[in-house]
Symmetry: C2
Subunit: 210 residues, 2 copies
């Protein structure tokens, strides 16, 4: 790899964006950072391996935590027992973590307006992952046993509204609008694995460029 | 190729979408149909090889014709000396040509709301190609010598407004909004050739599916 690359992934809830991001990182042999890790690192002020492994473990359960803790929270920071209001300081700390991560080496960064934070990065692929509602609903219900269809849809709508407000507030852009991204992809077309393969292929083309 | 595939390409003016569509078709060894061909076939009532070759030749010059003929036209039908108003009959004829083309074999279809017309096609990849304004402007000025920067921007804005109105009117959807497409891609990131390669790769993944 000639030069460091960063792949930022924004995603609709239930689209599989986080999992896709992890698979892209694995396919390219680079690190990945998700929302939880970034928030944790922002609060603890470091991004070392200990934090990374800790966050990786907790990430798997984060959505169950989110549900268990109810919907009156802002962002995934709640997963760590912290309830920030629309918090500029946390956003700045997270942005700093994101910039440091991208400086350290090639990586995939999921969520937290990383596409905006790293808008001047010389070799970046900014991705938005979305999906058809039936697929997203099925995915959310599969992950959270006992959720009714109506509850799954409600969770999807609320989570996306929260992501959208957060993004729009901090970037001044519009979440999901194509011109914020280099690539917007519907994961329902190819499924999680092949969508990840497609994004990894695009990243390889970007690495070959020039 | 197990099953017929169709790739529909909608695009911003100056993004290179038409050229990308042609390259995708070439990479996959399938036919491509652009706006001009579809409009011509709709008017002549057939889609045989004669028409195809005729339209392919004229396509190269169509943008110059468009400019020469001024901006008071609707869609590329003008390239053939025909001035339809917002014309439902022509839209229906074009839609019919598009459906017949997709039935005949795997193909790439550029423009004319093909993503909407073929929305029930079982194996379709719906693409929106856009680009950064400086790249689009440069592309338009390169193609049309003598155009000032301001004129190029004006031409881009007017053409996109026309495409957008046309699409929104006939589909009831919103041109460029991600959920109309499976894949939206900024051609400025990778350039024409590599963007075509990326879309062809995605199409191959779709062909492999199941």
């Amino acid at each position: 790899m000639a030069e460091k690359i960063v792949i930022t992934i924004a995603r609709q809830y239930g689209s599989g964006g986080r999992e896709i991001g992890e698979k892209v990182a694995r396919a390219l042999g680079i690190k990945h950072y998700d929302e939880n890790l970034i928030t944790l690192a922002a609060r603890e002020g470091n991004l070392d391996e200990t934090v990374a492994s800790k966050a990786d473990e907790s990430a798997a359960n984060s959505l169950l935590y989110t549900l268990a803790l109810g919907s009156n929270f802002f962002g995934s920071a709640m997963n760590f027992g912290y309830k920030p209001p629309l918090n500029d300081k946390l956003f700045l700390l997270q942005s700093d973590v994101i910039r440091r991560a991208a400086e350290e080496g090639s990586c995939v960064i999921i969520g937290r307006c990383a596409d905006y934070v790293l808008r001047d990065h010389p070799r970046r692929l900014s991705v938005f992952v979305y999906g058809d509602l039936p697929h997203r609903k099925a995915r959310v219900m599969e992950r959270h046993e006992g959720l009714t269809e109506a509850q799954a849809i409600d969770l999807i709508n609320k989570t996306d509204r929260r992501r959208s407000s957060y993004y729009n507030f901090y970037t001044g852009n519009k979440w999901g609008k194509y011109d914020n991204y280099h690539l917007a992809v519907n994961s329902s077309l190819l499924g999680i694995d092949k969508t990840a393969e497609m994004i990894a292929d695009a990243a390889k083309l970007l690495m070959e460029k020039e």
